[in-house]
Symmetry: C2
Subunit: 230 residues, 2 copies
Amino acid sequence: MSTAHGARARARIEVTAAIKEEARRQLAAEGAARLSLRAVARELGMVSSALYRYFPSRDDLLTALIIDAYDSLGESAEGAHDAAASPFERWITVCEAVRGWALDHPHEYALIYGSPVPGYTAPDTTVPAAARVGLLLIGIARDAHQGPAPDRPALADDLRPEAERMAADLAPDLPPGAVTALVAAWAQLYGLVGFELFGQFNRVVEDRETFFRHAVGRLALGVGLVPGPG
Amino acid sequence: MSTAHGARARARIEVTAAIKEEARRQLAAEGAARLSLRAVARELGMVSSALYRYFPSRDDLLTALIIDAYDSLGESAEGAHDAAASPFERWITVCEAVRGWALDHPHEYALIYGSPVPGYTAPDTTVPAAARVGLLLIGIARDAHQGPAPDRPALADDLRPEAERMAADLAPDLPPGAVTALVAAWAQLYGLVGFELFGQFNRVVEDRETFFRHAVGRLALGVGLVPGPG
DNA sequence: CAAAAACGAGAGCAGTGCTCTTGCATCGGC
DNA sequence: GCCGATGCAAGAGCACTGCTCTCGTTTTTG
């Protein structure tokens, strides 16, 4: 089989892990644009050309780091998630976990939600990891809609086809209007996080934690989650 | 003094403009990370070291491009702005202008609203240009609040100090709750634009124009703007 | 007119991603 | 156990990059 095949295979996974670890350290310290293959190799005591045996290009190394970052963020969000709480509280908790992770890993956040690296397009392998937070938010909305449906303004005619298509794709058991609001809230959440992280709130918002909690609370209302018991 | 004296000063402005023009072209074509001083100089038929007489570093050239990008975006938004329309319609128009500009200038949008270039912090000179769209949105909200105040949920106690501080800073004539909603909507607008531009909506949102118009319409509602006549 | 400042050109330094070749260690089939 | 195929590290090298310094030349200024 593949696992026990000698010391060679074992060494390969160890070196691969060491490269990613060192690369992640440089990424956290300096940012994606300053991540240098040669510096990683130098720090690991190997020569730069040897590193290409493990990652055929710098972009491939970046892709691995991107997937790891998505997974780390998804894990944080899922870990903060208390399934016993009310949907509204769970929404707030997940949003705060996303913000907290972003503040703890600014460069990794920038890597996945900031400007894409030029000449680089994320391969499809990143999609599942990238979807984790979204799926979590969909799950919360789904639980909330088990109860009585809040009155939601009727769907405008021109939005209806797209809303129904999105609902069919993402959450067939939810009303199309709720799914549309959910996707918008999902994007808007990252607007709030990104503005804080990238300095756009400098000299504008001071008490960012409180501001954020209220903003995502209003986002939750838009999705149909209600505070209070239940 | 430095101004207007002789052919040297004139040449300096011309060369500076040519550098920025060529740099902007490369920026649009390849993205900020691939913007190369040497390539700009080569294209202009000068040697790379000569370019340092005009921009002391690559970051200084980037700063100039950032300011230009903010101004270009601000101009687009202000140009699309029809002062005769209703505040709600004006809000939608400005948001759509921001989105349109972003789709037309993706790399420049990424430069100002994407990940900050590592090791680079925007100097204060960018602030006025960066504030233009925000000021435009504030103006729309101000006009809307000339009329009867819509009923808005009371400010939560923990948010009140920050909300009042923001209102005092940004729009003393607006209720603190409206200013808070406005700042949040401002950030959320860029979440919507960024997600579309950076590919997060791939395989999720198809009819992005319609989706966007409705999402920013709901944003407007949150700020207290109402559709229909008025 | 002479001193000073601005300028273009070139060489050079340290760094980058990436490729190619050269030996050596390990592995699988006989 | 041997032997050819494969995996791997090392080094040299290419074409770049940002940036600095020096050296004449030109323009501006006092």
